[in-house]
Amino acid sequence: MTPQTADNAIVSVRDLQVGFQTTDRRAVVKAVDGVSFDVRRGETFGIIGESGSGKTTIGRALVFLLKPSGGAILHNGVDPLAMPRQQFQNHRRDYQIIFQDPNAALNPRMTILSSVLEPLELARAGSKAERLQRAHEAMDRVGLPLDLGERYPHQLSGGQKQRVVIARALTLRPKMIVCDEVVAALDMSIRGDVLNLFAELQRDLGLTYVFITHDLAVVSHISERIAVMYLGRFVELGPTEKVSEHPLHPYTRALLSAEPRPLPSTMRGNNRIVLQGEIPSPIDPPSGCRFRTRCQYAQAVCAEKTPDWRELMPDHWVACHFAHRPNFSPN
């Protein structure tokens, strides 16, 4: 397991478990099943994985939008669930979450300005004039002209709407923002703009991000560290350069090699690992290593024993019986 909470951890997650009842109430989906990690203050912590792997569930748990069924989540070393109610409500403002679809996050009948003001009003922050000032600051911060404030969401482009959602999250001056697929719905030519904005806000405001996405290019562009998730568990965690250039886990390698590359044929190489089949159901995951049903290296032990979560290289963690240091043997 990860060592004691480091001083620079803004969030520490220990053996997190989140289960959901299936709709027929006959079974439990273990959406997250034993995940431990720290998010360091000021960093961008990327989480990547295929759909259903549990990324959104972790994100929602991190900001206490849902309650863990096991394990612990500490914010700055403190368990928010142990706080008195009012303190907990105030505390939550420091930890915001933004989702993929700005249309779902914005009330179509509210003007842009009212949407940006709303969190401040709910929090009864400052006087009316102060709230307006802060809303304007936030809009300015994300590059929205103030005259857009009088418009309605349908009169804005996708990129502008996502900026409004970011402005809303910023008004309460959070310390950390969980970004769940925040650029997935945006067109490619404006995706860059929004990613640049996130980077700029982090530099200027010292924000911490947990950046959740299924897009490898996006996550490796913006994150300092990347965690790779498969069927409710982390299979690998390490510095972006290490994970994307010297992956230790067979699943990470397959994921990297499956990414379609916008390169001419001469530069694309021919090293694709095509995985068989699809992700098994999280209701009844494979025993031992959960990746074994699709892993080309699987051995008998992989079905019997769950691989340990090991720090194989400094700051570089992996869960695979057969992962080894890349320098010591060719792989």
């Binding site: 067109d187 490619m188 703009d193 990414e259 379609p260 590359r261 916008p262 530069m267 694309r268």
Partner: protein, 359 residues
């Protein structure tokens, strides 16, 4: 670079060469809306040769889907008009009779979509649905149809098809449903398969499987592929030619490698530059300022003008799809003097190069 003289005609390129399977000329689509009639696409020209794999790329709303649908005349019923021609192996699909269209649709041209679930009928087994397609278009017996269906399911990589043939769509995973759709679309051996974002709803490891399948099938059976996507990586991995659309028009048409290495249109170049794959990690991503003009408020002349760093006096004139030599076309009168960066300039310093090299 080629020295061919650009075609200066207003009515754009001549009809497709003798080898074209399909030649689209001057295709335009108009819709009736509460705000009046609007022109969704115009002046669409392109050819597809037999067995060729062509990617149609562009941002949301640029007209990719409706261009694909117009080929099979499956456009929504608020259609106000279809201009131009679509010559397919001797028939103009834009003007042929409904009966002729029915004989072509599903048999000689097939189409698959992003969401296979909505295209499959939940109350019939997958085997029934595939066999029906065959029985509608040919007079095979029930037994023969089942035999051919099994064989097709095997070809698209469904394990133990004898067991799967009697499954209902909801019993299959997303990737398997898309394989079933591909089986159903290819069972009659079409000359052209139109695939509209066939892997967008799938995970990246499953996407890789499906793209490989499409590439293989098109190669082994000489089926031409028109692959509609917003993902330049998908085009690079699957297609041989890339047609870029912007605001309802074709703005560039070139071999994939040429378009990626040396794009001729400032928009294509801008798109490549904005990809995070191709930028140094953690650096600022280049982006194209502004946004696509609204369909109700299209500027005269070059539709990219307001966002183009190279716009000068003259760009407000109507832009024709010019012949740039080597089978390339571009809708920008300045293409010869502009030296636009492509994927290579960025890839050299980007993490993608390292990713390519990993084991």
């Amino acid at each position: 670079m080629a020295t061919a003289q650009p075609a200066q005609r207003g009515s754009e390129a001549v009809a497709g060469g003798p080898q074209a399977l399909m030649s689209v000329r001057g295709l335009g689509i108009r819709f009736k809306t509460s705000l009046g009639v609007w022109q969704a696409t115009r002046k669409i020209d392109f050819d597809i040769a037999p067995g060729e794999r062509v990617g149609i790329v562009g941002e949301s709303g640029c007209g990719k889907t409706i261009t694909g649908l117009s080929i099979l005349r499956l456009l929504p019923n608020n259609l106000a008009g279809l201009d131009g021609s679509i010559h397919f192996d001797g028939t103009d699909l834009a003007s042929c009779s409904t009966r002729e269209m029915r004989a072509i649709r599903g048999r000689r041209i097939a189409m698959i979509f992003q969401e296979p679930m909505s295209a499959l009928d939940p109350v019939f087994t997958v085997g029934h649905q595939i066999a029906e397609t065959l029985r509608v278009h040919t007079n095979v017996t029930r037994e023969e149809a089942r035999e051919r269906t099994l064989e097709m399911l095997r070809r698209v990589g469904i394990a133990s098809p004898e067991r799967r043939i009697d499954d209902y769509p909801h019993q299959l995973s997303g990737g398997m449903r898309q394989r079933v759709m591909i089986a159903a679309s290819l069972i009659c051996g079409p000359q052209l398969l139109i695939a509209d974002e066939p892997t967008t709803a799938l995970d990246v490891t499953v996407q890789a499987q499906i793209l490989e399948l499409l590439r293989d099938l098109s190669e082994t059976s000489n089926t031409a592929l028109m692959l509609i996507t917003h993902d330049l990586g998908v085009v690079a991995e699957t297609c041989t030619r890339m047609i870029t659309m912007y605001a309802g028009e074709v703005i560039e048409d070139a071999a994939v490698d040429d378009a990626l290495v040396r794009p001729l249109h400032p928009y294509t170049s801008g798109l490549l530059r904005s990809l995070p794959h191709l930028s140094p990690r953690h650096g600022k991503l280049p982006s194209i300022p502004g946004r696509v003009p609204s369909i109700m408020d299209m500027p005269n002349g070059c539709r990219f003008k307001a966002r183009c760093a190279h716009a000068v006096a003259g760009c407000e004139k109507e832009q024709a799809l010019l012949d740039a030599g080597n089978g390339r076309k571009v809708r920008c009168w300045r293409f010869r003097e502009l030296e636009l960066p492509g994927a290579l300039q960025h890839a050299a310093t980007s993490p993608i190069a390292a990713m390519v090299a990993s084991p």
